[in-house]
Structure formats: C-alpha cells, structure tokens
Symmetry: C2
C-alpha cells in the first residue's frame, strides 16, 4: 500500500461562505465549488481549486457534527486533516490495520464529499496528524 | 495577485526522523529529503514527496524556535501551515498589505527551506489558517 496524490487539505471554518470570499479576495483563488450539505456526515463542504490540489472548507452541519469539538478548541477555524489518494480503499484499510493503525468509526469505508469511499486514520498513529485516505477518483 | 500551486503542507512534529519513518512504513511514502537544520529560523526540516505536492516535516531547533509554542499546545505534533506558490513574492507581500492582511515578522521576505524567499500571513486573516507564500521555485 502506497499513497498517491495529496487530494486536498481539510480546513475547518465557522462560516464557509466567508472563507470562500477570503480565499478569493485575499489570495485570488476564485475557483471554488458550490457548498454542499452532507447531513449524514454532519458537515457542509466546498472545495477551493488550486493548480495541483484543493482546499476542502468544512463547516459543521447539525448538532452531532464531528467538527463542533474542533471549532470549540479553534473558534476561528484551522487545519483539520490531509487527504491522500489510494488505488484501492479496502486494501488501504486492511494495510492500516495490519500495520497497527486505528481506522476511525466502524472501519468500513464510507462515501465522502468526492463521491468515493474514504477512511480516516487516528491522529495518534501519525504524530498528531489526522489523515484521510480516499479511493482515487476517476479523472 | 493570484496564488499558484499548493507547494506543501507544513506539519510540526517533535521528532522528524520518527515522523519520516511513519510516513514510509504506514503510508508507503518512502521518498523524503535529508533533514536539514536552519538554526537562524529555529527549525529542522525534511520534505516527504508526494505525486503532486509535499509534506514539510518541521521540528524545533534551539531555544527560540517558533515551533516550541505550537508543540506545547499540540505535544504529539500537528498540521501547522499551508504554503502556496506566487510568481512574485514582493508583489504578493504588497498585495497582502493592500488587502488589509498582516504579514508576520518584519514583513521582509526571507529565504526559507526551499532556498526561495517566503512570507507568512497571520492566521487571523484566513479564518485561523497560517499561510505561507513562497516565490515559485525554478523547475
């Protein structure tokens, strides 16, 4: 199992539309997707496009959102995770477990904001860094 | 002023060699640079290569390191900054100021770990996200 591209950097924000405006007005990054709600995941998400990767802006959605706790600790927002592409998400999940890492939740890959299956690996396994692994999207 | 590529994601760690081993053993990211000391910047740095970008591993070096405070708050380590390339670092610095953002330090670009001039923009200007702007390296 070997990771591929850095698909995106996940950044939690209290207000996704305000953050999109900042990336456009301050940094000239004007290419962003519409914001989409994922109520079953507890998040609203938009992607700011860069030449070689993307910033995933994440805002909590609903009471049970996994982002609430993060924003309590970081009220202005902040860096949340990095996401690597893998050719086979099941093989990647199995490799994580074989190598002693903790896959979050049930460990079953679920469909993320890119419409491909993803897993998250516990930050304790990567020196405090939360890491998402994503099945390579079709290009 | 418009940003270009996501040059790297900066990740602070207490032990850079241990982190390199983790990225290689757990994620198969075996291509990394030698670790270099930058005593005048208070950091030791190594880059883990990905297909389209890099992870910058950062460890404090010396008593006055800017990373100490971050690791006090995040003892295991964690995501520290993201770095965008810009075609002209002076124009980018001036644009940041014109647009009301705070450039850290003296505001004069200085030579970073990639041997090109960089600046940092205060997290308060980008919803809690520390952002580095780097003069595009020659390719």
């Amino acid at each position: 199992m070997k990771i591929g591209r850095l698909n995106h950097v996940g950044v939690a924000v209290p207000d996704i539309e305000a953050a999109k405006k900042t990336y456009a007005a301050l940094y000239g990054a004007t290419q962003a997707t519409e914001t989409k709600d994922f109520p079953h995941l507890g998040v609203r998400v938009a992607f700011v496009h860069l030449d070689n990767s993307e910033i995933e802006l994440i805002e909590p959605c609903g009471e049970a959102s996994p982002i609430h706790k993060f924003l309590e600790r970081n009220p202005k927002g902040g860096q949340h995770h990095i996401c690597f592409e893998v050719p086979d998400i099941i093989a990647a999940r199995d490799a994580m477990r074989e190598r002693g890492a903790t896959v979050l939740g049930t460990g079953e890959p679920y469909i993320g904001a890119h419409c491909v299956p993803v897993i998250f690996v516990h930050p304790k396994d990567s020196h405090g860094q939360l890491i998402e692994l994503m099945q390579e999207p079709a290009r």
